[in-house]
């Protein structure tokens, strides 16, 4: 347990010292602010089609943080130390995912509040959008761990990560868009919770298997 706590603390500290959530949130807000400009001034159109677009922006913002996630550990030898530590690699990867979610996923979910309002979402729907994105970013991070691990040895692997990971982003986006559009909110939230749990359970296992191969 102590090893996991140490790994979580260190990863969180490294993510904060690297600028933390500032860049992803800036990207997220910037992308959502472009939507009204592209859609034109018609409010009814924006109100019906706008809110689900926070999900696209959030998915891309998480995607942008994945490239260096394990690549740095592979290059500087930290991965070797993780492999011989007393904690299983799967759990150390889970700790890193948890740190990424706290550093990036949660702030993104909170930033989705103002973004959704700007996209003409009704005020009473904003809290569920925040909750749904908190679950959704957890699912993104879980799938992202596996994608980042598979491409850790590839220079400029950002595009490759996107190709691998984006199909796994589809389910949370489908149900997240339902929440943001105000349809079947309870059912969609439960499915999002399921996506988050599945990604948190399977992502680290897949990522650890890929990292063991990368260490060769």
């Amino acid at each position: 347990m102590r090893a996991l706590g140490a790994a979580f603390q260190r990863d969180l500290a490294l993510m904060w010292s690297g600028g933390g959530a500032l860049a992803p949130i800036g990207f997220f807000l910037g992308a959502t602010m472009l939507v009204p400009l592209a859609m034109g001034p018609e409010r009814t159109l924006l109100a019906s089609a706008g809110p689900p677009l926070v999900w696209i922006a959030a998915a891309l913002a998480v995607l942008a943080t994945l490239e260096r996630l394990f690549q740095a550990d592979l290059e500087d030898g930290s991965l070797d130390q993780m492999l011989i530590s007393r904690a299983p690699l799967e759990l150390l990867v889970l700790a890193k995912g948890a740190a990424l979610w706290c550093a990036i996923g949660l702030p993104l979910a909170l930033a989705a509040g103002p973004a959704a309002i700007a996209l003409q979402a009704p005020l009473e729907r904003v809290p569920v959008i925040i909750v749904s994105l908190a679950l959704g970013t957890a699912a993104f991070v879980g799938a992202g761990l596996a994608g980042a691990a598979v491409t850790a040895g590839v220079k400029r692997g950002g595009v490759l990560i996107a190709l691998i990971v984006l199909p796994f982003f589809a389910p949370p986006i489908i149900f997240g868009a339902a929440v943001a559009g105000g349809k079947d909110v309870t059912a969609a939230l439960m499915i999002l919770g399921g996506c988050a749990l599945a990604a948190a359970a399977l992502g680290p296992i897949a990522a650890a298997a890929a990292l063991r191969l990368q260490a060769e």
């Binding site: 090893a3 140490a6 790994a7 603390q9 260190r10 030898g77 070797d80 492999l83 007393r86 060769e216």
Partner: protein, 205 residues
């Protein structure tokens, strides 16, 4: 060195008919050897002869094409070894102190920061981010892992690289101290570290 307890284990490295392949090329003729507690084994060989790969195979990172490499007679396999490779395992943004704390958590260590810092002469840079360290200081910090948490087997890949005269002496003392406690050290070196090796392995194709 009194902060460390002697090992309950009688660590043994057993390598049998080991063949390693990198990039389709066989690195060295099949090699077999065994080393037990209290031994210091020096691993010699030209650049590219496979010293690092042999160490990584024993650590379990690299899978052999044929033969086997094992660490035996350690009660807790996950607490068997330290590996200090070419890459020091440091993060540029994090401070020396943050690394010591992280490793203590990761490997389950206890010795006081004071002792680690004094032994490796890192007191002046304790709060500095690692990107500001010199090569030698970064190497010293990587070697701090050996002191932070006790492990019966040490796999060292050119441990003295980038170290000054005093640093080499410290590495020599660490190795001697580890042997005296029944530990096992396998080090790939280009120049002798100082302590008299109990075995010398020479890798050749």
């Amino acid at each position: 060195m009194n902060a460390r307890r002697p090992f309950q284990d009688k660590p043994t490295i057993r390598v049998e008919g080991l063949t390693l392949v990198r990039g389709g090329r066989r690195l060295f003729a099949p090699i077999s050897f065994a080393a037990g507690p209290g031994e210091y084994v020096e691993l010699l060989g030209a650049n590219g002869s496979g010293k690092t790969s042999l160490l990584r195979a024993i650590a379990g990172f690299l899978h052999p094409r044929a033969g086997s490499a094992h660490i035996e007679r350690c009660e807790e396999p996950s607490l068997a070894l330290h590996y200090v490779g070419h890459a020091n395992g440091l993060k540029g943004q994090a401070s020396v102190r943050a690394h010591l704390k992280y490793w203590a958590g990761l490997f389950g260590g206890a010795p006081s920061e004071d002792f680690v810092v004094k032994a490796l002469n890192l007191a002046r840079v304790l709060d500095a981010p690692c990107r500001t360290l010199s090569q030698g200081q970064a190497r010293r910090l990587a070697l701090a892992r050996l002191i932070i948490a006790p492990r019966p087997v040490w796999l060292l890949d050119e441990p003295a690289s980038a170290l000054d005269y005093q640093g080499r002496a410290v590495v020599g003392e660490l190795v001697e101290g580890h042997r005296a406690q029944g530990g096992l050290v396998l080090a790939a070196v280009h120049e002798p570290l100082g302590p008299k090796p109990s075995q010398t392995l020479r890798l050749a194709a």
